[in-house]
Each structure stands twice: as C-alpha cells, then as structure tokens.
Symmetry: C2
DNA sequence: ACATGCATTAATGTATACAATCATACGAGA
DNA sequence: TCTCGTATGATTGTATACATTAATGCATGT
C-alpha cells in the first residue's frame, strides 16, 4: 500500500488532496472539480477521480452523483472525539501488545525513546518537527505490536487525522518531556508483561495530551 | 454517500466486490483483474478501478503497483478483534448517546424493539433474517445518536464487516430473546440518562454476542 | 544442462473521447 | 410580472485508446 501511494499518480493525488483538506487549504463545502484539480496537479481526471472516491470513503469528501465532490473536512469536535476514542483504543493496543510484541519491536521503541531524549537534550534548540516525528514512529510501532490489523488500521487512520492539528498546536518542551517519560513507562509495563498497567498508562497518556490541548484553548465540544 | 453508492456504477461495483470478498466468493490472495471483473459485471475497467482503490483503502484488497489487486479479506481473528473493539466502542457510543440522543431516535429504537418482539412472538416461524435486520437498525440508530461522525463511521464499518459472519452463524431463538432484552435495558438506561449504566450494558451486550460466537466454536485466536 | 538476455504478451497506469446529467439563462406565454 | 419550458454550457459518468510496466517463454551461449 505504501508502495502504491508512493509510485502511482492516483496515490500521490490522494495524499495531496487529503493533506490540503486536513491542513485547511480546502475548506468545508468547497467544491472539488475534477478538471481543475487535475490541471493544478498536472494530471488527467482519472487519477483525480480515484483519489476523490477514496477520500469519500474516508469521510473527508462528500460526493453527490452527477453534481460534484464537496469537502467535508473534520471539525474540532471530530478531532476531540478522535482523541477520546484513541484513549480507549491505545489502551487496548498496549494491552494486546503485551502478548504480541516482538523483541525487535521492543528494541525499536527503546531506540525511538533514546533518540527523543537526545533531541530534547539539545535544549531550546530542539526540533519540534523531529520530536513529533519520533512520537509518531513510537505509536506506529506500538500499533503494529498489537498484532491486530484491524486495531492498527483504525489507530493509524486516527493518528493521521490529528497530525495537522498537532503540528499547528505548539508543542511545549515541558509537554514533550512528560510525553517521553510516559512512553518510557508504557514500554516498561509492556516489557514487564503487565497488561493492566500498560493499558492504563497508554490510556492516560492520551488523556494527558487532551488536557494539554484543552489548556491551549482547544474546542472540546 | 448512499445516493452515490446507489446510483453510480462505480459505487455498485464497489459494493458487489466488497460483498463477494466478505462472503468468501473471492478468497485470500485471489487476484482481481480489472478487465475480468469488468466483463463479469458488464462495465468497463474505469468503475472497477475506482472500486478496487476504495477497497484497498478499506484494507480488503492489496494493490501492488503495475502488478495487480489481491484479495486480503478478513480472518476469523480479524472478526474477533472487531468484536473486542466494538465492545469498547459501543460502550462509549451508548455513553455519548445519553447526552446527544433525540426524542425521535428514542422513539425509533423503541419501535424497533417492539417490532423485534413481534417477530419473536411468531414462535418457531420467526425470521432470523428479519431479526438480524432489526438488530442492525437498532445499532445504526444508536451510532447516529452518539452525535459523533467519527464514532458512527467506525462502528458502521465494523458492523458491515461482521455482517456476513453473523448471517452464516445460526442465530438461536434463545440468543435472540436475550439480545432484545439487552437492547431494552440499554434503551432504558439511555432514557434514564444513566451514562455509566448505558456504557456498561452496551459493553456487556457485545461481550455476550462474543460468548455466543465462542459457544458455536468460533476461532478466538 | 543451466543461466542469461531478449522478445512477446498481458496486465495495469494514464489520458482522452464520448455520453448523460444537471445548472443556468433566456424567452415565450399567461 | 411571474412562471414554466427549453436551449445551452459546464461537469460528471463511463468507455476506450494509448503508454508503461512486469511476467513468461524461448533462444542463445557457456
């Protein structure tokens, strides 16, 4: 699937439009005309149509037959809902990972944490971009480690949805430090095969992220 | 979206192939050739391609660039995972519904329960088809009532995934009776605005379905 | 006999052409 | 003036044609 998204025009068009919707370039109720998009991206209507059909399935676009495609986008409430659900699901994920994680995955998560701490130790010159990327990788590995295609799929989708929101929100150094500490605790619980603890920690980890969002004046309802 | 799936060729092709995968007509690793599918369905490759791209996004098909589309399907473990996650999410759904449900939705769920009991009272001549359809409608309304696009979307997807599995598994009259009783309890809790109770009941409702599956020798790991 | 390279073939990837549908504007009639 | 019908333009829906890529088989050389 990654190969496909990488190499085919349709896949790239899909990613591009998706990003443009999530980043806010295209806004709610904007009409997405196939010909216009194709011209802008330098491709024909065919790949654009494929992309729009995929986006509709994802719920980011609404297609009215013989009329057109309209941006649905995701609201702040949607993002808040996603975090609420992630809190539950990441807990379940950590619980399942206790039974399914491999040594390689444990090592990879360990390494990601070390890299994160290294980034952080740079002091005020640390790259927020790098930190969020590492955070993303940590969660991705955890998703894989659950041993469940289904759960991994849902969580990966959710994660990509809120990615732009995270980028736009300033990540405080304080929050980054605490986040990494929480990652370490989660990893420790999984290593110790303590399912109960792993679930609770992963659960609370997301709740803490939500508290942080709230503090920054994020719409919660 | 329903209009789209209904009226356009691409939408119908998508639904058809999706059903054929979920029902087992196309099995794991089967190759889905665009031309062959188009010929079989009496359409050109274009709508078939759109459908395959959508199915890939859903995880039911894997596309290897310049090679072809292969059925991924869903395993018994996948279905089991879905029920596990549904247990969590339906709980959350019922909790949220307590705050967002409308009078109309309450009435509709009430009516669905009455119709279900009517079907059941027919005795041994009751239609399992009808019962499962009503069960589906009950849950759909509940999903809507959560007031969350995101949650509703995920649960609807999950529900459609396990639908074929439910059809193939014999629904015992005993289980149907208990299921309707549980629906009544859930509805009662929501009416009473008892979020805690609603969540717990919805949660357990799915767990009971899982126990029933297990009793029928369903693979759980 | 086996490996390698090229030609052939069949599939997908993309673009374009044609058909069907919908929105808009204009004009005729009440 | 208002309404309804029609014509026109624009957009989507579908089919087909062309380009590109990958697999297969055969021939050739070692």
């Amino acid at each position: 699937m990654d190969d496909y998204q990488e190499h085919s025009l349709g896949g790239r068009v899909f990613q591009k439009i998706r990003e443009d919707i999530l980043s806010g370039k295209y806004q709610e109720h904007d009409e997405l005309r196939e010909a216009a998009l194709g011209k802008e991206l330098g491709v024909s209507r065919t790949p654009v149509r494929e992309a729009l059909r995929q986006l509709e399935l994802e719920g980011l676009v609404t297609i009215i037959p013989n009329r057109g495609a309209y941006v649905t986008g995701i609201s702040q409430k949607d993002i808040w809902d996603i975090y609420s659900l992630r809190s539950l699901l990441e807990g379940m994920c950590a619980r399942w990972a206790v039974e399914h994680i491999t040594e390689e995955q444990l090592d990879e998560m360990e390494e990601i944490i070390l890299l994160s701490e290294f980034q952080l130790k740079k002091g005020s010159g640390f790259s927020a971009e790098q930190i969020t990327a590492l955070d993303g990788r940590f969660h991705d590995v955890l998703y894989e480690a659950s041993g469940s295609r289904i759960l991994s799929h849902v969580l990966t989708d959710f994660h990509s949805y809120v990615q732009p929101a995270r980028k736009s929100s300033v990540i405080s150094e304080d929050r980054a430090r605490k986040s990494i500490r929480e990652h370490k605790q989660i990893l420790r619980a999984i290593r110790d095969r303590d399912a109960e603890m792993a679930e609770q920690l992963a659960n609370e980890h997301i709740l803490h992220v939500m508290q942080n969002l709230k503090k920054q004046g994020y719409q919660t309802d």
